[in-house]
């Protein structure tokens, strides 16, 4: 059950909230328990046609020829849909916000770039008739060399996967082949570190596997428009993408959705709507395009696999003085949303820790795998897995408690992040303290007293150590070194070794007087806004 710890930051918050903390019934719950919630496939139409897709059996191949003449005459077949039928057969999802080049066809034209890539569609009176017709289509391929590993894909001579990005990396701002973060001088700091940890992490692709597979039904309306019932998680995004691919004004499309049988990020790619609309347009009949479970698992885009290298420079007293990250996102054959995942990853480095020297390179790499997409915190999740494994290893390497190691290095309000933004609204330390309390995990007194407030925390690390935190190289003096490194445990304090904790609470951990309540505020929202960061200002 939820527990609200109102004692934490109590002086910084109004608690006269009407809804927060109170259970509220979901408005869709009655429909769910009575089986009446309207999922896209719960709409019935007379003379519904079914679209099934022929998919590439090769990870990379040139299509030499396609013979669909027998299939076109098969029982129940109403229409074959070929690449040439797609009005705008090249798109990239984030093109709607001018991010990235069009790189993905709805139906492959001359080359297939991943196993399962759509090549041709059959519209028939039943799914079975469509599948039987698909089995009659003859395609001949010339297999091409394929690449499945992100680092292999970046080597000279690797097969080029995606013609919009011939070097196998997404291009940022039209010229950069990766996202880069530089703060201080990590290499110089490694030379001063007591321990250097160089580790490799690999996260596999993960399929969302929603219980309702991706699908949509496009229905010609009486006024020339199309009504589209869809499982999409991103209704207007899918509408605009479908309008672009079908070269029609978006006001010709009426999307109905909102009831989604599990998404988790796997239903934002607009994988079915453009072709179901096209099929409805070409046949004049309602058309359903529904992924089978096999299609969902094999060809529905997964969370991308990620390979992450992390090198930490750690001092024996627990401070992390440098962190170097090199991460490769496997985007699969096309961009979809991985370009954005990489930006999120770079923004999350080095994790919620104040580290004075940070160096990161993050790549969005094309391979001949299934294109990857959004999934629950994508870009951050795998990085956090790697970072937190690294934190455990770092703590072990110097014989420190892993939770205390995190609390020691955690952001405090006002600390300068590697992105040259001030940390604000920090609460990791309090979370760690409550977690330790719940788990009966012993924390030393000084760590129980630390706080995320500005400078809030124990100056328990020897003052002499401060100087090692200063970025080491001349280059670093440009920005970070001249910026005061606001690290809680750098505060001048009586020097004492970390494992013999001083009994006296550090001066900075004293609670500041509660700020006056803002005039006219009736609830906490403005003060807590993460956008404006006004919590403790």
């Amino acid at each position: 059950m939820l527990e609200f710890r109102k004692d934490i930051f109590a002086d910084e918050r109004d608690d006269n909230l009407m809804e927060i903390g109170q259970p509220t019934q979901r408005q869709d719950m009655l429909g769910h328990v009575t089986g009446t919630s309207p999922y896209y496939d719960d709409h019935r139409f007379a003379n519904l046609l079914h679209l099934k897709i022929l998919r590439s059996p090769h990870a990379h191949a040139r299509i030499r020829s396609i013979d669909d003449s027998v299939a076109a005459r098969a029982p129940g077949v109403k229409r074959i849909i070929r690449a040439a039928d797609v009005p705008v057969n090249l798109n990239t999802l984030l093109g709607l916000i001018q991010f990235g080049k069009d790189d993905e066809p709805s139906l492959a034209t001359d080359i297939v770039r991943y196993k399962g890539e759509p090549i041709l569609g059959v519209v028939a009176t039943s799914e079975r008739a469509a599948l039987e017709a698909l089995a009659l289509v003859r395609v001949s391929y010339d297999p091409l060399p394929a690449v499945f590993d992100v680092e292999e894909a970046l080597k000279p001579g690797a097969p080029s996967v995606n013609p919009s990005y011939p070097k196998n990396t997404f291009e940022y701002y039209g010229k950069y082949d990766h996202q880069k973060l530089r703060y201080g001088d990590a290499d110089a700091a490694f030379a001063q570190a007591d321990v250097v940890l160089d580790e490799r992490y690999q996260m596999s692709p993960i399929e969302h596997a929603p219980t309702e597979t991706n699908g949509s039904i496009a229905v010609p309306d009486t006024n020339g428009r199309f009504i589209v019932y869809t499982s999409t998680q991103a209704l207007f995004f899918s509408l605009d993408t479908s309008a672009k691919i079908n070269a029609m004004p978006s006001n010709q499309l009426h999307f109905i959705g909102g009831t989604v049988g599990g998404g988790f990020g796997g239903k934002v790619d607009t994988m079915t709507e453009p072709l179901s609309i096209l099929a409805a347009r070409l046949t004049g009949a309602p058309v359903r395009y529904r992924f089978s479970r096999h299609e969902e698992m094999q060809f529905g885009s997964p969370r991308g696999g990620e390979r992450i290298y992390i090198k930490d420079g750690v001092m024996k007293d627990g401070r992390i003085i440098a962190r170097k990250v090199r991460a490769y996102f496997d985007s699969g054959a096309y961009t979809r949303l991985s370009s954005y995942a990489v930006v999120k990853c770079a923004a999350h480095i080095p994790g919620p820790y104040t580290i004075p020297n940070v160096h990161a390179d993050v790549f969005c790499v094309f391979t001949n795998r299934t294109p990857a997409t959004a999934m629950r915190g994508f870009g951050v999740t795998a990085l956090d897995f790697a970072l937190e494994c690294q934190m455990d290893k770092g703590a072990t390497a110097i014989g420190m408690d892993p939770l205390e190691y995190r609390i020691l290095n955690a952001y405090r309000d006002g600390d300068m992040k590697a992105h040259r933004r001030e940390a604000k609204n920090c609460a990791l330390i309090e979370c760690a303290q409550v977690a330790a309390e719940k788990a009966n995990w012993p924390l030393r007194d000084e760590f129980r007293k630390m706080s995320s407030r500005k400078d809030g925390g124990a100056a328990h690390v020897g003052g002499a150590a401060d100087r090692t935190r200063a970025p080491a190289s001349p280059a670093a003096t440009r920005a970070p070194a001249s910026t005061p490194q606001r690290v809680a445990y750098e505060r001048p304090a009586p020097a004492s070794p970390p494992r013999t904790a001083p009994a006296a609470p550090p001066p900075r951990s004293a609670q500041p007087p509660p700020p006056a309540a803002p005039a006219g505020s009736t609830h906490g929202a403005p003060r807590f806004s993460s956008v404006f960061g006004t919590r403790r200002r």
Binding site: M29, L30, T34
Partner: protein
């Protein structure tokens, strides 16, 4: 070739014509119009399409419709009595035992089969009973608690 199929659905006689080899899931949804039954995998692995045939939970997507002729089938559409929800439905609502809701009809039917058979199940009995039903929003704990609640609040009504 269409085959006539006749069975009892939630206490009412129904009849329809189905393609030879049609599965019960398609016949219920498309032939008879009971949309409370959902398809998740169409290959007998996820439990989403669970219905009760003669009181026993079955996967309708891999049940040949013709084998159901003359038999009694229960689905979520028949759970409520008029405006009154079944104790399981009430408990699912109160316990927040549904997120996306897509696995819920199958979960409810698997749970109903259990309570009909065993009005006072243990936690382990509930886990076993819904063991064939996948919830991808991973809300198993609230579902288990809801089934136990339903058993506690009313062990007579679920007949």
């Amino acid at each position: 070739m269409k085959t006539p199929i006749q069975f009892r659905l939630n206490g009412e006689d129904v009849a329809t014509f189905a393609d030879g080899g049609a599965n019960l899931l398609d016949v219920l949804r498309e032939g008879v119009g009971d949309l409370s039954v959902k398809g998740g995998c169409w290959q007998g692995t996820c439990g989403t399409c669970t219905v009760l045939i003669e009181g026993v939970p079955r996967l309708s997507c891999v049940t040949l419709a013709e084998t159901c002729t003359g038999r009694s089938i229960e689905t979520t559409a028949g759970l409520r009595h008029g405006a009154d929800l079944h104790p399981l439905q009430k408990a699912f609502m109160e316990r927040f035992a549904a997120q996306c809701g897509y696995c819920t009809p199958g979960m409810l039917m698997a749970a109903k089969a259990l309570l009909d058979r065993n009005p006072n199940p243990s936690r382990e009995d509930v886990v076993e009973a819904i063991g064939g039903n996948i919830c991808r929003c991973t809300g198993y704990e609230p579902i288990i608690n809801a089934v136990l609640d339903a058993a506690r609040t009313d062990s007579r009504r679920h007949t």
